[in-house]
């Protein structure tokens, strides 16, 4: 009964959280966006006291149900564990707790958060690790399926589905996600919740609390015949059936043992157990991460050509990312420092960005955290999606009105690329599309009113949205690009 309830809830949470990373229409977020916001580490970094108190509360009452229901990485491991059970039944066994390793990693994590070594935090954060897996591997499949439906819809004159771009957002992030999936997946397949009880800092914190939880599974020593079936089915390896002791710091409240016991000797009750004892460090597990870099082929540019025949389409060269002195982070992030100190690199913002702007950073100090670039699209005035979904307070909620006055960077003109000067034709596409009215066209020759016009940027009005950079006809490098600001300003 309890096991079935736990499983049902876990599946519901897991599916819906996964959908948060897949659904690009925003429908799921409207109803279930809170599921990301109750994740422990993001809530902690967002200083979301309500959520933290709630999670501490349920842990103190029910034990680590967070780990078996709410955490998507935990549920994913149970999935791999089920596969493992198909191969061999009653496969687990009790192991001694690796307390020193756990607390060392927790201390390192705390230090990393305080010191701002965010790539380390991002690597170990369980929800974010799952987010990267979902965004890297499941989202493309989902989008591909959607695009098939879009083709079908188009054939039937329906507007129910529309095509979305599928593109590699970050090679390193993809590599990290692949490594996480392989390592955590293998550990779960072979040994159950090893990751949760040795590496995961959230597991360690909640484990420290769950030792004192009101409800916990307790072995009735009178009924128990010491068969050890419970221990062999405990994915947390926390039941010492010989001594009738359960290590509640590692128990993830999965209730599997209760159903397994033929004698009905285990029950989930308020009774106090005898004692539990901490043990020594025995072994050490190591994780390594692969970095995969991807190269993107660029098409050759085609200059403006003179028309001699009718029809046909000119080749359009892909835009390239300009070298920016300061990276651009989305409005709502407040500053690069704020983003860095809160972001757990879960990729939720990257997943929902409908304009192809956000992608994970490849720089070491901001590894896998989001940054903006405008060669595929620009940060559109009506969109505040990333700020709505961020669970960690790295991108704070903003309204459309806020967005129109938040300066995240400013546009810089590159004379050498500007089309009126290179091709000798009128342009002004940047000025025409600037939502802030920050660009004015002026004659390129101050003494000649009739000269072709070039853009001048009023950086006091520019908000850094990148409309100018994205819509600039100069290729592969735009004649106007955005430099990020370290701290955002409200104009």
């Amino acid at each position: 009964m309890l096991q079935r309830l736990r499983r049902s809830l876990a599946v519901i949470f897991f599916v819906l959280i996964t959908l948060l990373f897949l659904d690009f229409t925003g429908t799921i977020h409207r109803w279930f966006g809170w599921m990301a916001k109750i994740q422990f580490l993001p809530a902690l970094l967002a200083l979301n006291a309500g959520v933290i108190l709630f999670l501490v509360g349920i842990t103190l009452v029910f034990g680590r149900v967070y780990c078996s229901v709410i955490c998507p990485l935990g549920v994913m491991q149970d999935g791999f564990g089920l596969l493992g059970k198909k191969v061999k039944k009653n496969r687990y066994s009790y192991s001694k707790p690796k307390t020193i390793l756990r607390y060392t990693l927790l201390a390192l994590m705390a230090a990393a958060i305080i010191l701002g070594v965010n790539s380390f935090v991002a690597l170990l954060a369980p929800y974010s690790a799952y987010g990267r897996i979902a965004q890297s591997f499941l989202a493309p499949v989902w989008q591909w399926g959607n695009n098939m439906l879009a083709v079908w819809a188009e054939a039937h004159e329906s507007y129910a589905f529309y095509t979305v771009d599928i593109w590699l957002k970050g090679g390193i992030t993809l590599g990290v996600a692949a490594a996480t999936l392989v390592i955590v997946g293998f550990l779960a397949f072979a040994n159950g919740r090893t990751y949760c009880n040795t590496v995961c800092p959230v597991g360690t914190v909640l484990g420290a609390l769950s030792r004192f939880s009101i409800f916990k599974p307790v072995i009735d020593t009178i009924k128990c015949n010491g068969c050890g079936l419970c221990a062999r089915n405990c994915k947390a390896a926390c039941i010492n059936s010989k001594e009738h002791i359960i290590d509640y710091s590692r128990c993830v409240a999965c209730f599997d043992c209760i159903g397994k016991c033929h004698k009905g000797a285990i029950s989930y009750t308020r009774r106090k157990p005898v004692i539990d004892n901490a043990d020594k460090l025995t072994a050490e597990s190591r994780r390594q991460f692969l970095a995969v870099s991807a190269t993107i082929a660029s098409a050759a540019a085609l200059k403006a050509q003179e028309k001699t025949v009718d029809g046909g389409l000119a080749t359009i060269a892909d835009k390239k990312i300009p070298a920016r002195k300061t990276r651009i982070v989305p409005p709502g992030a407040k500053s690069i420092a704020n983003l860095s100190s809160h972001c757990t690199a879960c990729q939720l913002c990257v997943s929902v960005c409908p304009n192809g702007v956000l992608r994970p950073s490849t720089e070491l100090d901001s590894l896998m955290q989001p940054e903006s670039s405008y060669e595929r699209g620009y940060c559109r005035p009506e969109c505040t999606r990333c700020s709505e979904v961020c669970p960690a307070g790295a991108i704070l909620p903003i309204t459309r009105a806020d967005k129109s006055s938040i300066q995240i960077g400013h546009a810089v003109w590159i004379k050498e690329n500007c089309v009126p000067l290179t091709d000798g034709v009128a342009c002004g596409n940047c000025a025409r599309h600037c939502p802030a009215g920050a660009i004015t066209m002026v004659p390129s020759d101050a003494d000649n009113e009739g000269a072709l016009e070039i853009p001048v940027v009023n950086i006091e009005k520019c908000i850094g949205c990148g409309a100018c950079e994205n819509l600039c006809p100069a290729r592969p490098f735009s004649a106007i690009y955005v430099e990020g600001h370290e701290r955002h300003r409200t104009l």
Binding site: Y159, A304, D310, G312, L313, V425, C427, L471
Partner: protein, 463 residues
Amino acid sequence: MKKHDITRRDFLKRLGIGVSVTGLALAGCKQPANKLSEGKAALGEIPTDKMTYRTNPKTGEKVSILGYGCMRWPTLDSNSGELDQETINRLVDTAIAHGVNYFDTSPAYCQGRSEQATGIALSRHPRESYFIATKMSNFAPQTWSREASIAIYRNSLKELQTDYIDYMLLHAIGVGNGIDDFNARFIDNGILDFLLAEREAGRIRNLGFSYHGDIAVFDWALANHDKYKWDFVQIQLNYLDWKHAKELNPRNTDGEYLYGELEKRGIPAVIMEPLLGGRLSNVPDHIATRLKQKEPEKSVASWAFRYAGTHPGVLTVLSGMTYMEHLEDNLRTYCPLKPLADDEMQFLYDTADLMVEYPTVACNDCKYCMPCPYGIDIPAILLHYNKCVNQGNVAENSQSPNYAEARRAFLVGYDRSVPKLRQAAHCIGCNQCSPHCPQSINIPHELQRIDRYVENLKQNSLS
């Protein structure tokens, strides 16, 4: 078990019998069963010997009232623009079998591929069984020299696999910079004199011009008719442009005037854009209903073709038929042509008055504007906009009753019809396209207007 052993086919057969029995029973006993669709399709065969012909007053030759416009040949792949020769051959064979004998092409059509494809298809038939019309399409300034223009002409002969042209045209006089461009293209370089000499030599059997744009050039050409002896002139004529062309765009001229000027001088008229690139076929729903109500068994397009053919001074009506269905429909209209009565003409003029209320862009998808050097797919954008106008998917404001559906249909359809990088947002307004537009559309203006509309939809700020 045996009892249930019927196959799916048997089942459907029994079901079908059951349904038809029921149907007969419901229809009552008195009614005899109709037989029309049995054995042959209701539409019936198109006669091969009923084509209406017009006589060329100079040569006395009989020209089919349906002329084949070779500007819209089917492609194998819309991206590469490679033509589907096999289908083109079939279209040409069907047309000739039903009496079509006038084929109109140009060195510029279909990204420069039309003449060759037309030549391949036609060369499979005896040369005397058809007339070839092609054009001096020296639009680009680098082809304005005498040598370059003559090279274009010689290449036409080669591509069309012939040593004479039946109908040669100065292509689109009046486009670009009016009389100046006309002089530069045809007079100053001596090309018109060259073509007159070719006519003298018999390698050009009829010499004429096609006209779009600046009316001064048309008037100048006709004022000099005594000197040049135009054998025919190609003009745009349809029931919308007859009285509304100038009203819709002050730079254009009403068909009534153009045709009247030719009739006065007894010059045969070749008609182009009788259907406005499909805009007189793909009309708003209530216009279509209005036309169908009057002739339920005839297509909407047939009205436009009968209209053009009804004018007695018309030699042939050109239609760029991409699909076999277009060709068949037009053959039905013209085998033979049933001219419109006066009240029917008036009915079409009244229809035209209703149509001008629709804010469509006058694009006929001729692709003369293309390729845009910055990669914009101009006709695709304008066509998508027109489609949405006709389907009622261009909302006036966000309070419109169908705003949400119209918005989605416009935006989703926009991304489907035009890749993002080729959409109107990327139009820089360099205006290299507009001088090429036979309909004198101010293309950057229209694209930027559509882009603003798209922006308003995206931002949900349509007011």
